[in-house]
């Protein structure tokens, strides 16, 4: 079944300089392993191609059943000098959750 990541997971965005940090946390911890196989770096890179200009690294946290995506060159230079409305990129947690997946 096609669903949005939003339907099965939640997350928060953080920033450090020009680096965007996105957590993806399944509502149901039993979904964690399947999410690991579906929400790959490649899928996220493709989905966020208009936002993330650098590389993406994924960290797996089985201890809390969560994934963390660390995205380089993603915040138009970073919070202090970006011309964007959302200089922190705080709204971008919901950009990732827009991803459609087969689940």
């Amino acid at each position: 079944m096609k669903v949005k990541l939003y339907d099965i997971a939640h997350g928060r965005a953080g920033d450090k300089g020009n680096t965007l940090i996105l957590s993806v946390i399944p509502y149901n911890e039993d979904d964690y392993v399947r999410l690991c196989s579906i929400v790959t770096v490649g899928r996220v890179q493709e989905h966020l191609k208009d936002i993330v200009l650098g590389s993406i690294e994924r960290f797996e946290l089985p201890n809390i059943s969560a994934l963390q995506f660390v995205c380089q060159k993603a915040l138009s230079g970073g919070v202090t000098t970006s011309l964007d409305i959302d200089t922190h990129g705080k709204t971008l947690s919901y950009a990732l959750l827009e991803m459609e997946i087969d689940f």
Binding site: Y6, H10, G11, R12, G14, D15, K16, G17, N18, T19, I21, S23, I25, Y27, H47, D50, I51, F59, L61, N63, I64, S65, A66, Q68, V70, S76, G78, V79, T80, T81, L83, D84, I85, D86, T91, L92, Y94, A95, E98, M99, E100
Partner: protein
Amino acid sequence: MKEQIRIGCGAGFSGDRLEPALVLAEKSELDYLVLECLAERTIALAQKRRLQDPAKGYDPLLERRIRMLLPALKKNNIKLITNMGAANPGGGAARIIEIAKELKLNIKVAAVGGDDVFDRIDPQQNAMETGEPMANSGRLISANAYMGADGIVAALQTGVDIVITGRVADPSLFLGPMIYEFGWSTKDYDLMGKGTVTGHLLECAGQITGGYFADPGKKDVPGMATLGHPFADVFKDGTAVISKVAGTGGVINLRTAKEQLLYEVINPHAYYTPDVIADFTTVRLKETAADQVRVEGGSGREKPPTYKVSVGYQAFYLGEGEISYAGSNALGRAELAAEITSERLKKQFPAVQVDYIGISSAHRAAFGEHPEPYEIRLRIAGKADDPETAALIGEEVEALYTNGPAGGGGVRKQVNEVIGIISTLLDRDSAKATVKLYQS
């Protein structure tokens, strides 16, 4: 040495709500209240205020927060730890003493400094972000090292009621009292890691009690208008139980704790602070009661050999103008307005930023198919070297009233000076925490 202490966090950024800290001070039997009020750029702005008035440079909300909290802190024998000293911890301490005198309260305050390393950085050294000499970014105006818990511990050893610091790593504000009360060795890196995990969970205050979490229908949070801020019972072995005052709004559960644990963490295996390199992948979280999460595990390894230094520089003047279009062909008219404005400004601004608020301004993209919205707000923004040039952007947007597409309204324009932040590293021996005492 104590077996257990209770630490609350009553503010998670400089503009945070005021009264949750008072609720904590009055109703949660705290040993310590922490107010974290210093963002990356706040200290550079504070440095500018200090240049204009040497007595200033501490947090602009210090007076209101302290005046409100002091009686409850004194009555309930709660120690306050805060980074509201910003660019001038001594000035902040002096102001706290004045307020205490007005309220006829006897208190002792320690100002913890040593973070201002402006005279020790080399402008020709490369910035971590740009890979180029820092001086290339603009005129440097401040340099503050992220200090560790050691200055806070030294201050607490003098028996003060309030510790006010400049730049200190956020979790260190919480780790300080743990080291002091439990007699932890600062070389016990697993304990430093555990304390840092708890500090990190608390440091954004409402962000672990349902703030910045709610999504109606998906993640419902009750009573957000009276959101309670968190406190933790921390035990000598480094475990902690995070909770909030009964009757306050908000929620603490596994989901809120997970979101906050990962917040702004660039590498969960190696979370760098001046005290430790903490490992968040060994943390275990457990819901133990309603609005209560137990934090176990967490570990760490030897602290980094250098301090991270935030360097502020004068970046540019930001000019902005906004105008709304609504009804049929709103987007078409907004696009025409953008075209006209861009052409008018192209001499001074080869590339202005154009945002269509309601379509693609926040995500810089839109995902999936969306019907055209009923109304659009156009935003034009650009960088300039001086405020007069920056102001041209708002002026051109405003002139659309009589020279632009039909039906534009609600123009707002502004010019702001922008302080940028870059980072560098500094050898530990080049910065030492200082403690100065003040008494009312």
